[in-house]
Amino acid sequence: MKKLVALLLVLCLAFSSVAISAADEPFVINACIASEPETIDPSLISSVDGSTYTQHQFENLMKYQMVDQNPANDPNMKLTEVVKGQAKDYTISDDKTVYTFTLRDDIFWSDGQPVTAKDWVFSWQRLVDPATASDYGYFLDNIVLNAAAIQAGEKDKSELGIKALDDKTLEITLEAPCAYFLEMCAFASLVPLREDVVKDGWTEPANLVVNGPYKITEWVHDSYIKMEKNDKYYDVANLGPDAIIWWLSDSETAILSAYQSGEYQFIESFPTDMIQSLVDSGDCFINPYVGTYYLYLNCSKITDWRVRAAMAISVDRENVVENVTQGGQSPATGFVASGILDSTGADFAFGVSELGALYNTLQQMYPDADLSTYAGRCELAQQLYQAAVDEGAWDPNTTVEYNFNTSETHKAIAEACGHDWETVLGMKINLANQEWATYTNGLGEHKFGVARLGWIADYNDPITYLELLVTGNSYNYGLYENPAYDEKITNAKAMLAGADRDKLLYEAEEALFGEGGFPVCPVYYYTNMYCSKGLTNLGYTTMGYFFFQYAKPAQ
């Protein structure tokens, strides 16, 4: 009996020590979302991964907070909404052009200094300063007072419409009311920065000073970035992982191997041919992602709108998403990506009609056609194309150059679209593969008939897309010109969210796909795929950012 009691005691001790060691074991997330970032300097970042690292290290006036809603069928992933972050409160002037933020009292930088309103003034001025040469330097153009003039070198950065009234009060003056300004205040490029910290090499762990939940403590370039809790963060007690290790790799095979062997718990890229089996095994989930994959139809080369319309509606989008991309994407029915909401909260892509803007105007112009089916669309496409040929507006012997940058997916999409145009319309298409830098150079010089691009929304407002096709806009690579369209966009930009503004924006997108239009051929709406295991309480925005700060180990 004594032996038995002794044995039980030994076992109890052994189990308790195991339990203690398990409880003491730090919770570390190993994730891989991209390869080495070009930069993690918030003023210079332009990539989703760079923004994700920023969102974990810095907190803006507003922040993304999880809500009780799953973006896909993953119960461990939650959608987020924009709420007050470092701002305790804010007021908006009657004319909706002056925002006054009051900062929280308990916000500190990781070196213990208090976060002040001046830190935003410095950061925003640095962003718009032409000397910074930021990819997102344009972000505040025509929104915050004088931003565009400063970017153009016409005004000094000190004239930007942002002022620190005192250490805890920040006043921001806009050019005109902006319906999505508060959402912009959560954007990664606009986080506060300390003027005395930002100098050469400041993003290296030893020099970095942050105000967000985590801080980089180790960075082995091209290998991993390790973040640990920032104990000066006001909500540090509620944070999840003790450390997040972001592995930096671009080898899909290696990333998937590390995930399968249990070394990574979260990955965002893997070979396309593995998607289905990963979905079947319950590892892979497909999130909505506010982005549109589209083709520019060069209006200066394909001059007749009917030819462009015929091309746009004769692409078999279902075939592209089901057989080519295979990533759960949905066929595009407009230029504004699905997931962008109007002022009532409805998906802008389907706000006017189930058909979507791409087909709706044509359907009204040609009521006999059935644009709800691919066969019906092909029939109308042939009719439009033939009319242009018969009138001598289009030479059917013309070879259209279709440019795309090097990628197996772009190539396969180009082949699918080219095949549709050749078989449905009898067009001659020449596919031209170019490496990225050469390709983008050609885009700027408008040296193409058709060219691909993808656009991920910067904020949740249709303007983020529709503005691109205004006359003279740098991204209007297809050289579309429509004064009526330009006027609608200009007016909408100066209006606050509401039914009138929605109406203008819907009309604008319908004009894009009506007579004289079709400067672009939307192909599909993006999705965001990831594999995750052993984690719960992860956050996601449909702009593509994942949040791990409140993650917990899955039971």
């Binding site: 080495e36 070009e38 930069t39 300097d41 210079l44 332009s46 032409p130 000397a131 040469a133 930021s134 990819d135 997102y136 330097g137 344009y138 970017q151 153009a152 050469d200 090499g201 082995v220 370039h221 091209d222 290998s223 991993y224 592995w247 930096l248 790799s249 671009d250 080898s251 095979t253 290696a254 191997s257 590390a258 399968q260 062997s261 070394e263 490496e435 990225w436 830098a437 050469t438 983008t440 150079n441 050609g442 700027g444 691009l453 993808g454 656009w455 740098s474 991204y475």
Partner: protein, 313 residues
């Protein structure tokens, strides 16, 4: 010999200067800019180019490169690690050391395995061993590195879990195994094939027959007489291999997540990171030139009949 080496060093500096000029001209001849992104406007590109002096005339830019290189300044990365000095990327972050470590180990394996295997195949010509080695080396030469690396990763890391999937900074012995095998496989097999042919040539020479007739034992015959003479083609091959094995480690580094220089050698061209293109080209060219010098000296050691200098030297 001393004069010869000194002359070669002076010549190497001139060659490096020439390489800089040619690289500069080539990288400026291809279209594109390091600042082109899906969301960059022409105005932003112009501002960024002005910030880094890319708006200056080409001859000024070239002169700046040469002047800075003479002062040991390799410039600042424009894209891959924006704002970071290139010297830090290559040397201080350990990328160069890592690639060299991996490359030299792979080279060592290739030489230590390739030469004996080639000798064995030649010595037992026509036997089953020769046949087996010929099949194995042919397969080894034919399989692309990326296929072998992926295969090794899936079998030994994912399925059997014997090896780590992430070799990282190669901090422990285990992390070396798969990258070194992947990187050395092609060269091992190629050297074995080269050695076999060369050894077969050597053992059919008159002096070998004479030595055999004089009763020299087989082991001594191979090691003392045939081996040294048959090493010449292998030594010649080692020069370019040294460069190839380091610059060609891109796939292996990428597959096993080794943060080496190989990746930079390829990607800096794609991203038009001009200072990184220039620096990696110059550093690796210097390495090749050094390797060729070592090879030339090795000739002399392997075969004393070879003269490195002209009579005037």
């Amino acid at each position: 010999m001393g004069t010869y080496i000194l002359k070669r060093i002076i010549g190497s500096i001139l060659i490096l200067l020439l390489i800089m000029v040619v690289t500069f001209m080539l990288m400026n001849a291809i279209p594109g800019s390091p600042f082109l992104t899906e969301k960059s406007t022409p105005e932003q590109i112009a501002m960024a180019e002005a910030k880094y002096g890319l708006d200056k005339p080409l001859y000024v830019q070239l002169w700046n490169y040469i002047k800075n290189y003479l002062h040991g300044d390799l410039g600042t990365s424009l894209k891959m690690q924006e704002g970071t000095p290139v010297k830090n990327i290559i040397f201080h972050q350990g990328k160069f050391a890592l690639s060299i470590k991996l490359g030299l180990l792979a080279l060592l394996v290739a030489v230590c395995l390739g030469i004996p295997l080639g000798c064995l195949a030649a010595f037992y010509r026509g036997s089953w061993l020769d046949g087996l080695l010929r099949v194995v080396t042919t397969i080894g030469v034919a399989i692309p590195t990326f296929v072998l690396a992926a295969l090794l990763l899936v079998v030994f890391s994912v399925k059997l879990k014997w090896m780590p999937t992430l070799s990282g900074s190669l901090t422990d012995a285990k992390s070396y195994i798969l990258p070194v095998i992947s990187l050395s496989s092609y060269y091992t097999c190629y050297i074995a094939k080269l050695m076999r042919t060369s050894m077969l040539d050597a053992i059919n020479q008159d002096y070998i027959r004479t030595a055999r007739a004089k009763g020299v034992k087989t082991k001594a015959l191979v090691l003392k007489h045939a081996l040294r003479n048959s090493l010449i083609p292998v030594v010649t091959y080692l020069g370019p291999v040294t460069a190839g094995i380091i610059t060609g480690s891109f796939v292996v580094e990428s597959t096993f997540s080794v943060p080496g220089l190989g990746k930079y050698f390829v990607q800096c061209v794609m991203s038009r990171d001009y200072p990184v293109i220039m620096a990696t080209t110059v550093v690796l060219s210097a390495l090749v030139i050094f390797a060729m010098l070592v090879v030339d000296i090795a000739y002399k050691i392997v075969d004393p009949r070879i003269t490195l200098t002209t009579k005037e030297d």
